[in-house]
């Protein structure tokens, strides 16, 4: 151990970990806001512009009354949540039958679809917007590279951490942008419905995500799903991989046992395994319903420090959400198994499911379609919700849903800002009281 290392305070370690999860969430939200501002600046509503599983029950048009829109949105949201539930149960079944190879393949395939097709389309929108004189050969080569390296980053367990994290954020951003194209009422009701679903699926004993997590714990495996894992803190450069606790999520804490004992056993068990074994499975199904399974993984292991070795692991149930597109000519692949949920990896790194990234960004993107004031309010609300969730995670040490608190605060502050704050601030500015 280097002699000039001073002991890390809780502020260093805890603050660093939180920053490492808040940063990618913020980057994702920021990029979605930028995309929305650039691409949707022209028109104010995209009524009926996309047909997907989220609008199969009702397509919002401008001429309907508010009550009709609300009813239609509720119907849409219920259908969507129903599809998500079914798909999550299918995922649980597949995981139970040990079809992990299939899940991983599905994950890679859906990443390719999202990065290649969705990414290509959004790039095309940007090119048209800016009249960027790129030719199709260069465009195809660049897109091909981008998509293939992205699939490798998501698929392979030992890619550079930065590359994997960057690609997960990009996937989240692309899917979130797609979701913001839904009609307005549908989006808001959908967000609330998904937050409630998440709460139920993770905390109820019959919830699919909870089943998934418990299954994974009992088998000591990782769920194949798309999960963003923050880089774990390492105290010293000299700690080799054997001493580092492997990233196993599904271990319960043995409060009665000697913590050193659990650490050793985990080392022995996982000495040869690859880190980052809880890669997310992202499955896109062209034309078929894909389910986003949001799962929250909460497992905390802080086994690196020599003074403080305790291994907490709480599985975070991931449950992915899949969206199906039912367009006539569109071949947009549906979303894939994106996971939502917050938890801790076995090496103490915080893990947040990709579904959380997506729906936070959808909320902020929708807020951006109104005004930037709502963006600031919703961003702060979401980050506050995330902080509260992290605190609860540290407290309860089990799988927790990351959506409900943040979405509740976000939606609440969006409507408050839009209805009350904006009027106030605009009047103040007009009268030069406040800028």
């Amino acid at each position: 151990m280097a002699p000039n290392q001073r002991p890390r305070s809780i502020l260093d370690s805890l603050g660093e970990e939180i920053v490492r999860i808040v940063t990618p969430v913020s980057i994702c939200m920021f990029s979605v806001v930028i995309l929305v501002s650039i691409l949707n600046g022209g028109f104010s509503s995209a009524s009926g512009s996309i047909s997907s599983i989220a609008t199969v029950a009702y397509s919002e048009t401008n001429s309907d009354s508010s009550w009709d829109k609300f009813k239609g949105a509720l119907l849409n949201a219920l259908v969507f949540v129903g599809v998500v539930t079914v798909a999550t149960f299918v995922l649980v079944l597949l995981f139970y039958l040990r079809c992990t190879q299939f899940l991983k393949f599905y994950m890679g395939f859906s990443s390719f679809i999202v990065l290649g097709f969705l990414g290509g389309e959004i790039a095309l929108f940007l090119i048209k917007d800016f009249n960027f004189p790129i030719d199709c050969i260069t465009f195809l080569v660049v897109l091909f590279n981008f998509a293939i390296v992205g699939v490798l980053a998501v698929f392979m367990s030992k890619m550079a951490i930065f590359v994997t994290q960057a690609y997960l954020v990009v996937i989240g951003m692309l899917v979130a942008y797609w979701f913001t194209l839904l009609p307005e009422w549908t989006t808001w009701v959908l967000l609330v419905a998904l937050a409630l679903y998440d709460l139920a699926a993770v905390l109820l004993p019959v919830g699919p995500l909870r089943l998934l997590v418990e299954l994974a714990i009992s088998r000591d495996e990782d769920i194949p799903a798309l999960v963003y894992e923050a880089r774990p803190l390492t105290n010293s450069e000299t700690i080799s991989r054997d001493e580092l606790v492997q990233r196993r999520v599904w271990r319960h804490r043995n409060t009665g046992d000697d913590t050193n004992g659990t650490l050793d056993s985990s080392n022995i068990r996982s000495s040869g395994s690859v880190l980052n074994s809880n890669t997310s499975s992202n499955a896109t199904d062209q034309g078929a319903a894909t389910v986003h399974n949001h799962s929250r993984l909460a497992g905390a292991e802080e086994g690196r420090d020599l003074e403080y070795k305790s291994e907490l692991s709480a599985p975070l149930i991931d449950h992915g959400v899949s969206v199906q597109l039912n367009g006539h000519e569109n071949t947009m692949p549906s979303e894939n198994l994106l996971l939502e949920g917050i938890g801790l990896g076995s090496s103490g790194a915080i893990k947040l499911g990709l579904g959380d990234f997506i729906f936070y960004s959808v909320l902020v993107g929708r807020a951006a379609m109104y005004d930037f004031m709502t963006v600031y309010a919703c961003y702060l609300a979401i980050i506050a919700g995330l902080g509260v969730t992290l605190m609860l995670l540290a407290f309860y040490q089990k799988a927790l849903p990351a959506l409900p608190i943040s979405i509740a605060l976000g939606v609440f502050f969006y409507f408050l800002t839009r209805l009350l704050l904006e009027v106030f601030v605009v009047q103040c500015s007009l009268n030069l009281v406040m800028f």
């Binding site: 290509g120 389309e121 929108f125 004189p133 260069t138 390296v149 030992k158 951490i161 080799s240 054997d242």
Partner: protein, 145 residues
């Protein structure tokens, strides 16, 4: 428990002894044994054995029109480029990936630049057929969203 393949390569240097003013020799022998990991992730990354196979695979797959994979190879094994003496087995792949990436990028970049700057002026009506926004419109590629 450490198996030999998981240990990183270590560099050892010794500094010469220094004589201070009073003539006593102060020996300053420092065993500089900080391990150098072959990947940019340090202890979280690959061991040296795995690195060789990964570097080789990235290098070979990059030939499938994937210069970005070569770039990722160089990025991932950046310590190999910096301390090239310590990793004789990984080094050739990473070097060749770097060279390949730069060659491919310069070729593609020069083509793209010629296309963008030359415009119709240089290419004639073919330019309009090749430029991406027209191709997108013609094939209806933006009809999905």
């Amino acid at each position: 428990m450490e198996d030999p393949e998981h240990t990183p390569s270590t560099t050892t240097t010794t500094t010469p002894t220094i004589a201070n003013a009073s003539g006593r020799r102060i020996t300053n022998e420092v065993l500089h044994s900080a391990p150098i990991w072959p990947t940019i992730d340090g202890p979280l990354g690959l061991s040296e054995e795995e690195s060789v196979s990964y570097a080789r695979r990235f290098y070979k797959f990059g030939y499938a029109l994937l210069p970005l994979l070569w770039a990722v190879n160089c990025f991932y094994f950046w310590p190999v480029l910096r301390h090239y003496r310590s990793f004789p087995r990984i080094r050739p792949y990473v070097f060749r990936s770097a060279v390949g990436f730069m060659v491919f990028t310069s070729l593609l970049g020069s083509w793209a630049l010629t296309f963008a700057v030359g415009g119709e002026h240089l290419f004639g009506p073919v330019w309009n057929k090749l430029v991406m926004y027209n191709v997108g419109d013609k094939l209806g590629l933006t009809g999905f969203i």
